[in-house]
């Protein structure tokens, strides 16, 4: 029977992650709480809006209302990486070789590991950012499509067009597909080899959480009363195929998904704070946490695949031990 070690915090949890196996909770006020032989806190941004877990460097990149970008490492170290003026930093991402991208208004910035910063001006707001897993390349979600930049080289960006406002972005782990979340209740995808479009619609709500399964064979998503899991194993992705619907509930919506690191299983968090795990093969479900006070906003598995750290919009966060 899974057990939950709760951590009740005061405020909206933007990101719940493990850094060096220590659970960390980044709140909207910029305080980073951690359970490291007791409850400890370090302050990052003055108002935290965006966070991204940099797997390669085991750190959390944050951006906020103060126009600053921080890197938070385990042990309570929060260091300022960059500052972009008075505008909010609305999106952050981490890439290869210690590179970090962040967005402020219509500009995307890339900060390389040596501290050099490169600017990428756009005609419209930069809504979302993601690095490709391969090569020094990053994508920007924007109005009417996405733009791919190659920050280490000169040269023109690649423009991918699709009408509508694209708000979030992710590359598949093999770099073959680019997926965006949209202002409308849909995902859009491009097969990067040939630019083929993929429309993934039918959601009753906006999609705010995406998670790739092991080896990128599936893409789990929120925005419906079930986790919608699209098959990406074939070369054309999910086109012409129906997604899995896991953990369907009648009275609430899925707000967060986090795929298991090595098995075809996803953790599913709901608007009422409940968390379950569901297996793709047979849709079998296990209850991990009963409903709480706020919508689940963030989840992550630990390296041992034993614990899940979760955060909620109401601050009732915690760590689930699935083996206990």
């Amino acid at each position: 029977m899974p057990t939950v070690a709760p951590l009740d915090l005061d405020g909206h949890c933007v990101a719940a992650v493990f850094l060096n196996d220590v659970p960390h909770f980044a709140l909207a006020d910029g305080a980073i709480h951690r359970l490291d032989n007791g409850h400890k806190t370090v302050q990052a941004n003055d108002g935290l809006l965006a966070a991204f877990h940099d797997t390669a460097n085991d750190r959390l990149i944050t951006g906020g209302e103060d126009g600053k970008v921080f890197a938070v490492k385990t042990g309570g170290e929060a260091s300022e990486l960059a500052s972009a003026g008075r505008k909010w930093i609305t999106s952050v991402a981490a890439g290869p070789q210690g590179a970090v991208a962040y967005a402020s208004g219509k500009t995307a910035f890339v900060r390389f590991a040596d501290g050099k910063i490169k600017e990428f001006a756009h005609p419209r707001s930069v809504e979302g950012l993601a690095f490709s897993p391969k090569g020094m390349r990053f994508g920007v979600a924007r109005y009417n499509g996405a733009t791919l930049h190659f920050p280490a080289a000169e040269g023109k960006p690649v423009e991918l067009e699709w009408a509508g406002a694209h708000t979030g972005i992710t590359f598949s782990p093999d770099g073959a597909f680019l997926i965006t979340t949209m202002q409308e209740n849909a995902l859009h995808g491009w097969k990067l080899a040939d630019g083929k479009h993929m429309r993934m619609s039918g959601y009753p709500g906006k999609v705010k959480s995406l998670s790739w399964s092991v080896k990128g064979k599936w893409l789990a998503s929120s925005g419906a009363p079930a986790a919608i899991v699209w098959p990406f194993a074939s070369k054309d992705g999910p086109m012409g195929k129906a997604p899995l619907e896991l953990g369907t509930r009648g009275n609430t919506m899925v707000t967060c998904v986090a795929c298991h690191p090595s098995q075809e299983v996803t953790a599913i968090g709901y608007e009422d704070g409940m968390v379950i795990a569901a297996r793709f093969a047979d849709a079998k479900e296990v209850l991990l946490r009963r409903p709480g006070n706020g919508a689940i906003t963030s989840m992550m598995w630990d390296k041992e695949e034993r614990r899940i750290v979760f955060g909620s919009a109401a601050g009732d966060c915690g760590v689930i031990d699935i083996t206990a």
């Binding site: 909207a28 008075r86 909010w88 109005y143 406002a165 409308e184 409903p291 006070n293 919508a295």
Partner: protein, 353 residues
């Protein structure tokens, strides 16, 4: 589980550069009124007040991908409101300042069309600042100044000290011609009581038309009476010079392309009225800037109130008709290229037998 969190009211401030928006914002931010405001501006510019709750945001108009050209939202507001609402304890209300040339419609529609924004905030009122001296020129320049007035719930007619009383009367008559439903305040240096622009509940169906006890009655009572939709005015002034009977006709004032159509009738047959208003907003939506109405439905104890922005229509039962209150239906459309005759006839055809 989203507990029944109260929705934060949002005031939208429109007006041309130099009309006095910054002055009014400074007052909202600095006066001792016991409330805290988060202010979303396009540029920090001249506000000159250091405040964590002033957010600079680039106006970002997004067309919704549903094939409807008037379905636009402010994408940047969705993000900023979401960010602000993650820490709701910091402020009591939000003010959105638009650029001088801004179309107020996408701002307003954001608060109806985006589910996340709508669940946490509610549009309180659209306030237009108008420079008394330069309005005639602005109206010649473009449609924006006219749109801002047409769309407003409250018009602050500012810089009245820079014009003669005759010019002022004419400017006010122009505003009335564009928007007979708005409340007008004459001011100097944006010196309007803040209670007249904030927390108006103009989009709140239960309050909206209660604020305007004479909603749509202007053309019914004596033309030299000093009561209008703005009769809770702090300093009354005479409307004698106004051509009230022109309110629901195409304006004869030069450079005005917006007109209003005011309709009134008896009790409506709900089986006819609802399909009709749905159809009108679907077909005429792009031409309708605002619509407001109080409808008497046959066999219904309650007043039914309606409001709309382009194709967005909201309605609800408001309260029971009072004893002796006349069960009549009143509806006003403000927009362009409205076929008044057809609207009137089809509206009247919805009356219960």
């Amino acid at each position: 589980m989203s507990d029944a969190q109260t929705q934060i009211p949002v005031t939208v401030l429109t007006g041309y550069l130099g009309a006095g928006k910054t002055t009014l914002l400074n007052r909202i931010l600095s006066e001792n009124h016991g409330k805290r405001y988060a202010v979303i501006v396009n540029e920090f510019g001249e506000i000159g007040i250091d405040n964590d709750l002033i957010v600079e945001s680039d106006e970002e108009i997004y067309e919704m991908n549903n094939g409807c050209v008037c379905c636009t939202v402010r994408g940047d507001l969705i993000r900023v409101v979401e960010g602000l609402m993650r820490r709701p304890g910091r402020f009591d209300a939000i003010v959105v300042e638009t650029t001088g040339l801004a179309d107020p419609v996408p701002v307003a529609q954001t608060f109806f069309m985006d589910d996340d924004v709508r669940s946490k905030t509610k549009l309180d009122a659209v306030v237009a600042l108008v420079d008394a001296k330069h309005l005639p020129l602005r109206l010649k320049d473009s449609n924006e100044a006219e749109d801002q007035i047409a769309f407003a719930d409250v018009v602050v007619l500012n810089k009245t000290d820079l014009v003669t009383p005759e010019e002022l009367e004419k400017v006010e008559a122009t505003i009335r011609a564009i928007n007979p439903a708005a409340r007008i305040h004459r001011t100097q240096r944006a010196g309007v009581a803040l209670g007249e622009v904030l927390d108006r509940g103009a989009f709140d169906l239960s309050r909206a038309l209660e604020n305007d006890p004479h909603f749509l009655e202007a053309h019914d009572h004596d033309h030299d009476h000093e009561c209008g939709p703005d009769c809770d005015h702090d300093h009354h002034h005479h409307h004698d010079g106004h051509d009230h009977h022109h309110h629901d006709h195409p304006s004869d004032i030069h450079d005005v392309t917006v007109k209003s159509v005011s309709l009134r009738g008896g009790e409506m047959d709900p089986k006819k009225f609802f399909p009709w208003i749905e159809k009108v907003t679907q077909m005429e939506g792009p031409n309708i800037l605002r619509l407001k109405g109080i409808i008497a439905l046959k066999g219904d104890e309650d007043r039914y109130v309606l409001q709309g922005v382009h194709m967005i229509l909201e309605g609800d039962h408001q309260r029971a008709w009072k004893d002796g209150e006349k069960h009549e239906s009143r509806l006003v459309f403000i927009g362009r290229d409205l076929d008044e005759e057809r609207l009137r006839k089809s509206f009247e055809a919805c009356q219960a037998a």
